[in-house]
Point group: C2
Amino acid sequence: MSEHHANYSVFSSVSSKEEALDILLMSYEALSKEQTNWVCNLANASSLLWHAYTALGIKVNWTGFYVTDKENDTELILGPFQGKPACQTIIFGKGVCGTAASTQEIQLVADVDKFPGHIACDGETKSEIVIPIVDLKTKKTLAVIDLDCLELNGFDEIDKKYLGELAKLISASCSF
Amino acid sequence: MSEHHANYSVFSSVSSKEEALDILLMSYEALSKEQTNWVCNLANASSLLWHAYTALGIKVNWTGFYVTDKENDTELILGPFQGKPACQTIIFGKGVCGTAASTQEIQLVADVDKFPGHIACDGETKSEIVIPIVDLKTKKTLAVIDLDCLELNGFDEIDKKYLGELAKLISASCSF
């Protein structure tokens, strides 16, 4: 597909969100082929997310992952991401990420200030989407995909659909 | 030190490289306080590196980590980073990262095209610095810090000194 791994982040020619997110899913599959290491795969996935959304003109300020802490499965711990430094741990049920982790339901938040108990790692964040990554066998929450946006209403039903697909690909491809 | 974790990335007022890298070291210590999870700490460290060098006007296109693969200790595997997607694995001794990992010596490369066996994850990279992170007890290579720059001669002796300090802080603070 490309001579250099960095070329997977070329989303500049896309004409629609669907097309960009289709390329993102295909790029993730290519980069995770024969590779089950979750840190490696999520590090590249956070980069794909950053470059896909930035190319779409969506002002993401954070794209990345929190994973269920192996030493305490009632907490999420910071995983690979792109953006500014972030909170190290989040308790299941707290804030947008913790709610997605405990309910296993996608959280689409148009205005984070209206979300009860929102945890602000970055005061500039206005909207957010968090997608649970669930173990297909045990049904436990493995991790969450977290995207923050500097504008209100940064994400919609299309993001829900495609990022839900990404969560399934990650669950199937990674050993956590 | 700051209300939001994202504020640790504010390097905009710095007047010199030494000052920025001093703040980087202090920020890493603050963010890794009472936290030994290596993924969490290296994810925040890659963000600090990106924002410190970008604020200094140094055109970094990749800041992050490769770690010794627990399943094969003759290979490095991709860790947390900021920048475009990257090569998943690097054999010890190969390329700039592999050489730093096998020799445990900092590799300061003014022109990557002149480095024998350079592995190009991104064809745009012109110069690079790679710093080994060594286990203080076993003396084994735990990981490497890798910074790529879009310009020749992107890094110098000051980077060697401060990033060498960061490598020691990481070795002391993280359970790999």
